[in-house]
Amino acid sequence: MKTLVLVEHENGDLKDATLSAVTAAASLGEVHLLVAGDAGAAAVAEAAARIAGVGKVHLAEDASLAHQLAENVAPLAVSLMEGHDAFVAPATTTGKNIAPRVAALLDVMQISDVIAIEGEDTFVRPIYAGNAIATVKSSDAKKVLTVRATAFDKAPREGGSGTVERVSGAGDQGLSSFVGAEIAASERPELTSAKIIVSGGRALGSAEQFHQYIDPLADKLGAAVGASRAAVDAGYAPNDYQVGQTGKIVAPELYVAVGISGAIQHLAGMKDSKLIVAINKDEDAPIFQVADIGLVGDLFKLVPELTEKL
């Protein structure tokens, strides 16, 4: 099988989620990559060609591809699918935006959020917020998948000797345009690839207290910061911090849940973490059913003490 993997990149950086998608695709067969972008994309393609196990890298460089608009990227991907059997994208917001558009144009039913590949046509994916795990077999001639990054090891960034081949995009479809973005720059590790995460919930009470209590603990641990939906909805933390069924899926070495009750939608995003620590004043909070280490008490007292003593 020949697979085409969509490369996720931003400001010239090739994102880790791509590396997991490469590993997933490699279990299906030959791995080719698609780098779509504007002038900076050539450098990304060079980096992509060095990923272990990669064959050809298709590079499409065009102003209309600058912001990965699905309307412009999808027809490009579809044109390359003539020579490929599977399209694989990481289950990031970019991948989730583009892959179904590609699938529909190919008249293929996509398999979302794949966590294991059992054969050329058989895939495992969570449903119902991860409360059930389904094994599905696809009868479509070509496969379109999005893959969950936490479920596949990252392919090494070096060791490959792929070749870069330029392809032309379908141009600007004239349907959409990029207006602007508010992307928070942070010194902290990225949530989805961090080894340690400290997450805060509704109990933090305000944005000020969220920063005051969560940030120093995260800094001490060199951790990324996450949040529950309730904390995001209340404006204590930005939307990109949300961990859960409909937010980010994480699986760090250590996940510290502070003042988070443990609703199924939250657990869906973090219960594959290696070690879970929960701090909650309610000893019956559901988070304790998945926590390896629980500490019952008032976070406003316990978190500063923990930060201090670490």
Binding site: N131, A132, L175, S177
Partner: protein, 249 residues
């Protein structure tokens, strides 16, 4: 403009799904069912656009069993004008849902179709994007803000890095994220009024769409269980344990 809002009947988000013992699926017998939460947000957004004078009519559509009528009535009670039930007891995959919606869009000529970003049962997150592809329209997925400006709509999207704003030519597809709005509850008088709002019943065959599934479910199983761990009595004990396991130095 007219707005089309597809709504799906799904397990209520407060219910913990249970896998059937025979491994064929999730047990939905006698389980509380509700409108997919993201679709409530979609209906609410449509109503707000109508209240602002941007939209003139809101048509809600559901593809599913006879009971999906209840979901449509809920949407009508919230403030939608008219409903279409495409009735089937079969499991309809997102691709087939998108094909049926394509046909309905061709008939109804909406200025926008507002969908949920994801149905909380299959967690596919596909239908809106597929519909956009089949119609050849622009898509604004995971929306936290929607502003119609003449012949275009500006959509702020919740993306992994933060927020992104795109401008889409109309007609367009929008899919909702959690922060777009807070859906209203239907008042009792509106629930009564909704009973007499028009609801047309159709079948997938009426639209000439083949809904045969492309995926066969071979097995549905429980996720691996996590055992509850220990409770520690103090911060010192917590730090001790973390050191023992080696996650902190």
């Amino acid at each position: 403009m007219k707005l089309l809002v597809p709504v799906k009947r799904v397990i209520d988000y407060n219910v913990k799904p249970r896998v059937k013992a025979d491994g064929t699926g999730v047990d939905l017998a006698n389980v509380k069912m509700s409108m997919n939460p993201f679709d409530e947000i979609a209906v609410e957004e449509a109503i707000r656009l109508k209240e602002k004078g941007v939209a003139t009519e809101i048509v809600v559509v559901s593809i599913g069993p006879a009971k999906a009528q209840e979901t449509l009535r809920t949407a009508l009670a919230m403030g939608a004008d008219r409903a279409i039930l495409v009735q089937t007891d079969d499991n309809v995959e997102p691709l087939a849902v998108a094909k049926i919606l394509t046909k309905i869009a061709a008939e109804e000529q909406p200025g926008m179709v507002i969908l949920g970003k994801q149905a909380i049962d299959d967690d596919s997150n596909q239908t809106g994007q597929m519909l956009a592809a089949l119609l050849g329209w622009a898509q604004g997925t995971f929306a936290s803000k929607v502003e119609v400006e003449g012949e275009a709509v500006s959509v702020t999207r919740e993306v992994d890095g933060g927020l992104e704003t795109v401008r889409l030519k109309l007609p367009a597809i929008v899919t909702t994220d959690l922060r777009l709005n807070e859906p209203r509850y239907a008042s009792l008088p509106n629930i009564m009024k909704a009973k007499s709002k028009p609801l047309a019943t159709k079948s997938p065959a009426d639209y000439g769409v083949d809904i045969a599934p492309r995926l066969t479910t071979l097995q549905v199983r429980e996720p691996s269980k996590r055992e509850a761990g220990v409770k520690v009595g103090s911060v010192d004990e917590l730090i001790d344990r973390l050191r023992t396991v080696g996650v902190i130095g």
